[in-house]
Symmetry: D2
Subunit: 259 residues, 4 copies
């Protein structure tokens, strides 16, 4: 299979596409011929990112743990004329990770972009389970990087949570595992720079989704979480694009900034 | 003058346009009918941002301290078919600030976006001069916010420097004034949220431009600055879009994260 | 057993004692009648902290994985006239955690201070092993907090590493597990405030010890690590007390600051 | 004048004394023969620090803008048997800065420690006034460093505010000037390392003092500020020593950590 690739250019563009998810802007094709894997992408923020990457021209492989959810997401996005396929993937299983990568390589000749969606990993569960998240992220990265290196580079975005910084009350294991992902991002960025693989992290705040329902389902709980997170109202998904404020984005090739 | 406006949507879009500057992607018009002021924009990063905002459909008012530089930038961008005008503006002068805002209001009926480019303020000069930067930014913001409020909201981006976090050697006053801008961003974001004005900061790293020449002009100095900033090579302007790595972008409505 | 306790006062004092470790200052007894558990404390920084707490008047229980190391440390410190006992403790084993706490309660009637020394956990090992560190810290905390609550409060200090922020090259799992401890500190501080248990973290930098030898054993490696950590020379243990510079210490009751 | 000095040891010890202020622990003399300048030290936190340094054995020079306040503070501390003198000092005036340093040199032969108390600079005033704080701090440092260098090193602590990170509502100029001091600390630490001068920052949170009265004087305002600062209650001065929680202290010779 012959592909014309712009290896470096793709990185920033995929990163940008992630942030543009759900903006609803007009079509353009900066990711034409790029191949993107998105985990936990049959619903919510993962689904929105997958759609955006496909709208930007990428071939997208969606995945989640249940076949019926994968089927539904693929059908929806194909119905919009997008280049989307899917496969079941439980990132904790080696064979699932391998199948995910192999699917992309077989269909599209390689992998340029990996979006690892850790925002929707279960809130509860015991500590031991939760700490598997970090190794799983590392292991999926390990499976993908050789394919990116073959293309001359790639872009990895870990979708984390603002709870990494400002803990969600009563969700300690979730919060701490997200903090660990901040460290993983920094370490992977340093290690993978030699292959022109950029690694960044997205920390979404609290949005009213079915996933976060338990945090705002009654009035008292909503007031308490708003105070804890220092926000005046909990965003709706459609507000998402207007939810960056008071932030600094560093564009500095890995120069130490804040954590 | 009658304008159809999408007050909130504009904010995230302008922010995104800033980050897309110099990406060279295909034309789209997410900022159609938006009005953007960009300071220190007749060269370098300011110019690149102004061009990108205009390519995205905005009416852009460029400015800098010298008429001939303004004329040259306006001619270049108008030659590319973009909606660009310009005015001389020394942000430290009240009448210049007022004229900048008035120009936008007169020509286009309002202001939606302000890009305050502080990255290229002089490296040297005495401490007292440098600390004027923060009040000037605040004063220009003050002049612009009423116009944004009339439109239902707006977006302000302060272009700062990674030196705010990792000091450039021997440039203490520059570095500290940039750190102050991080604080200003956070304070303005809180104060201006009531008018739907979002305030963010962009911290570019070291790039090989004429402005930064003194930091890398001889081999020894280049090695020393690369060690200080922990980068393997100093980026060129065209690398800029691939220069984000190891970073976390927080999209959380102002929830406390890192500074 | 009857003890006069100053429950709150003890917290700041234990914290201070940790930082005073190896300062070699004159004797005083701010921790008289306090009971302190210190893990991984038969050598290096853990041993220095245990000694300092005992010099400040506390009854100290040292521990590590090997009986002979415990015996040696106890003999040394008792030989200095200090109130020190010891027990073998592998923090990953529930029975060891329980025995550690039970030892303190049996001998001294309670626990006021816990120093969890995670700085010297193994550099290598696979990802899955390393991520046990965070749950182990949480589990030991869980075992200790009821005893602290009975006394009206207590103080927990997690000894982490600056690698949590600035990765040690090639030691990703170590680095990321330390980042996770930053998050754990923040979460525990919030959760345990209701029992007047303060939780803080100490992030030591690179010091020339036997533990860190692999990072500086040849000249090339030493130059590379100094560049990565941005230090002019690697500290010796005796420099330790003079090794805080460029830092901000926040004394603000948990107000969000940096991570 | 002949003095036996332990130049490096003094640094960490003065830093520790600052944190011990108001702890009320037993007397010891780690700062014997050391000379400390403390600005804005005739009341509140500055006074508490001055007292602690003197209790630890230092010769202390207190200062503030009014002669009668200086006289009162000196009389109080001398009445406690401490080695304290005083001089009027408005840090914004060159002759006052010089007199402050000269007083210490004349009486005690040098300067080892400078505590610059910026926490109590006026809340209000126009932006231009407030931004003088950073240059003033730099200028006083400049006046003191040659004296420290003569002694082989020294320690500077800038007393800032947690508002540098978490803005006090409606006090933008105060907040931003405190953020600038974080940057100044980092820059000075790098620049002054060559003379063994350590520079650190202390960021106290909100405490019920006369200075902060306007932030909590009525019930509604107190509730609002507690929510903004994410604290359950506003500390009293005597709680101060127990007010560190959820924090990480980095002891790493200047390795980049958080800002």
């Amino acid at each position: 299979m012959l592909k014309v690739r712009l290896p470096l250019g793709a990185c920033a563009r995929s990163w940008k596409s992630v942030r543009m998810a759900s903006c609803g802007v007009a079509r353009w094709n900066p990711l034409a011929n790029k191949v993107a894997l998105v985990t936990a992408s049959t619903d919510g923020i993962g689904f929105a990112i997958a759609r955006r990457l496909a709208q930007d021209g990428a071939h997208v492989v969606v995945s989640s743990r249940k076949q019926q959810n994968v089927d539904r997401a693929v059908a929806t996005l194909q119905g919009e004329g997008l280049s989307v396929t899917g496969t079941v993937c439980h990132v904790g299983k080696a064979e699932d990770r391998e199948r995910l990568v192999a699917t992309a390589v077989k269909l599209h000749g390689g992998v340029d972009i990996l979006i690892y969606n850790a925002a929707v990993n279960p809130f509860f569960g015991n500590l031991m389970d939760v700490t598997e998240e970090m190794p799983q992220t590392a292991l999926l990265t390990k499976a993908v990087v050789p394919e990116m290196a073959k293309q001359g580079g790639g872009s990895i975005v870990i979708v984390c949570s603002v709870a990494a910084y400002s803990p969600f009350p009563s969700l300690g294991p979730y919060n701490v595992s997200k903090t660990a992902l901040l460290g993983l991002t920094k370490n992977l960025a340093i290690e993978l720079a030699q292959w022109n693989v950029w690694v960044n992290c997205l920390a979404p705040g609290l949005i009213k989704t079915s996933f976060s329902r338990m945090l705002w389902e009654d009035q008292a709980r909503e007031e308490s979480i708003k105070a804890a997170m220092q926000i005046k109202k909990i965003g709706k998904p459609e507000d998402y694009a207007n939810y960056i404020t008071g932030e600094t984005v560093v564009v500095a090739g890995g120069t130490p900034s804040h954590l």
